[in-house]
Symmetry: C2
């Protein structure tokens, strides 16, 4: 499996994030509770369940792509700041992502992630809930380290405020998502509200916080553009994620085939197919999505229905429209000609949008 | 059930905390996710599961005693500050307590608390995990409101730092506690390490943060005394809690009889009894505490053994010793004669120690 060029380009940034998170854990961990922090380190892909370190090159296949913290650092650079000064905030962003995944895996009953058993599958639900809370507290530990990088107190508070808002919106999105499971198929607006919470809030915060820490001029309008970019990217990201969760190759995504359907997730393809469906087809979908334990055969029939209604193309089309929106927001933040550092950051952010749209895992 | 006088005296403080938490929730809640915040409001004893408001006078029997936020406010007053200025911090302290209980009830499998079904028992484990995360995020929302009460940015950051430390220590304590379940009976030192995390960290933070916000002179030594008081009180509180969890009257405590034993909790009476036990008795205890599902009959036999080894008296004696330590720490912060407001706060804090030691629920 070759690594996409943009992920190679991001390596110096994501590597620095890993080191910052390691410092956060080192600074926080009480000596009697090393085993608690090991659960997070396992989730991050750094160690095996027994604590054995994972070799550097194997880590990547166990870990996420670290796009959120990378965006935080790149937006700091795009705004004219030193990206290293945003490392504590980027670490905080990744820790939010980590704790929410540890909890989401419990809530969704997912037994594997990135080709390994999830935290609850290894240590049980109780330890996973506690480990998630612990990682959530580390978000603040990380954010407060912005002071060590020379940021003024009011900026550190602004970072904490934005991170907190993101977590609130994420838990609201997760609440809506769980409520939709087993319930009616929502309209596009309700679906988007849920995605804005679950996926966009953190991406938007990552970009906004990066910009905030890098922009000496404190331009509110441009900060808002950075946040709006994150939101558009989040919607595009989720649309692509929904395609992968419905039609993706399990050996590549690391998630079971049709897993979203079997969990009766009201993904974008489902919402769009329902809009296009006839009365009979709608009833077929409603029956499936309100059943407690849908059979794989019923899921296969729904998959066929989604295909025949053009939901796959419609979703990809929507993802592309959202990506265009993201490009347009980014365009407003394009640096002046000749500013090489900022232009490099700009180009990498553009590449991330392209990657999100075309990724197969 | 008559209310102890000190709880009546604290009413203006605890009532103001309830209002502050309500404001925090109002300021944070997205309109599409009211149902998520309702879970917290239910846990706090404000509403029924369907959202019906609980009448003012019935709330108390569903709610905790709010001793932690009250201590935060009283230490602010004792240090010479206006206690109302510490309300956001006190709300944050209570929210830490709330989210940790929502998660602890999941982890311990407890189905009732304060005579009502726990959050997970009403809405299921998944919603409870998510509701706990949401309440944990509200801790920061509350803490950041210290700015609204005129506190300088560096103080607000100091509050966030102390709250974060408390949550880290609490999750470490919970980790140690869960590891001890089903394992060997620990020595007194290991037991104390666990209690310092689970119980003392938040009480110590509550007192320290209150002092910090009230003390204009920023006296580090006296701040450390306030924190040390909280730790000693926490140890005393837990010792008393262990007595109630082992020998308490279920109709008063709202917890099942012998629940700590049935859950194989390594409480202080167990640790002290084990120290005093003969070889045979130790083996009996070891057999019981490493069994997966101990029978009520076996639990009754262990209860008898604990009694015969004098564990009940030894634990109460230890609780009293710890309370004396707390009194001694508090003595160092005694206000000058004639300062009525501070002396009133001092006296109420003393009464809280007495209440903690003698309470039956």
């Amino acid at each position: 499996m070759s690594t996409p060029p943009i992920l190679e380009q991001l390596r110096p940034y994501t590597q620095a994030v890993e080191e910052e998170i390691a410092d956060v854990i080192r600074s926080a961990a009480g000596e009697d509770a090393r085993g608690l922090y090991r659960m997070l380190e396992y989730h991050l892909g750094w160690v095996e369940a027994d604590g054995t370190p994972v070799p550097e090159d194997a880590r990547r296949s166990f870990a996420g792509k670290r796009l959120r913290p990378a965006l935080c650092l790149l937006f700091c650079e795009l705004a004219g700041g030193d990206w290293r000064s945003a490392l504590p905030a980027a670490a905080a962003v990744e820790l939010i992502h980590s704790f929410s995944l540890i909890h989401d895996d419990v809530e969704d009953g997912d037994e594997t992630r990135h080709h390994r058993p999830t935290v609850w599958a290894v240590w049980g639900v109780n330890h996973a809930v506690n480990s998630g809370s612990n990682a959530q507290a580390l978000v603040c530990t990380a954010a407060l380290r912005c002071s060590l990088r020379g940021h003024a107190d009011h900026l550190v508070l602004a970072v904490v405020r934005r991170l907190t808002e993101a977590v609130l919106r994420m838990t609201e999105g997760q609440y809506l998502d769980m409520r939709l499971e087993g319930g009616r198929i929502p309209d596009l607006h309700t679906h988007q509200t849920m995605v804005k919470g679950k996926t966009c809030a953190l991406l938007s915060a990552a970009c906004g916080i990066g910009w905030l820490l890098g922009d000496k001029s404190c331009d509110e309008d441009r900060l808002a553009q950075a946040e709006a970019f994150g939101e558009a990217l989040g919607l595009a990201f989720q649309a692509r994620d929904d395609i992968l969760g419905t039609w993706g190759d399990a050996s590549v995504t690391g998630k079971p085939v049709g897993s979203d359907l079997l969990r009766r997730k009201k993904t974008l393809p489902v919402v769009l197919a329902y809009q296009a469906a006839s009365g009979d087809q709608r009833r077929q979908m409603e029956r499936f999505f309100t059943k407690r334990t849908p059979s794989p055969a019923a899921a296969a029939a729904i998959l066929e229905l989604l295909e025949s209604l053009g939901a796959r193309e419609a979703t990809q089309c929507e993802a592309e429209r959202l990506a265009s929106d993201a490009y347009a927001r980014l365009e407003m933040l394009r640096p002046a000609d000749g500013d090489e550092t900022r232009t490099a950051a700009y180009d990498m952010i553009r590449s991330i949008v392209g990657f999100v749209l075309e990724r197969d895992r």
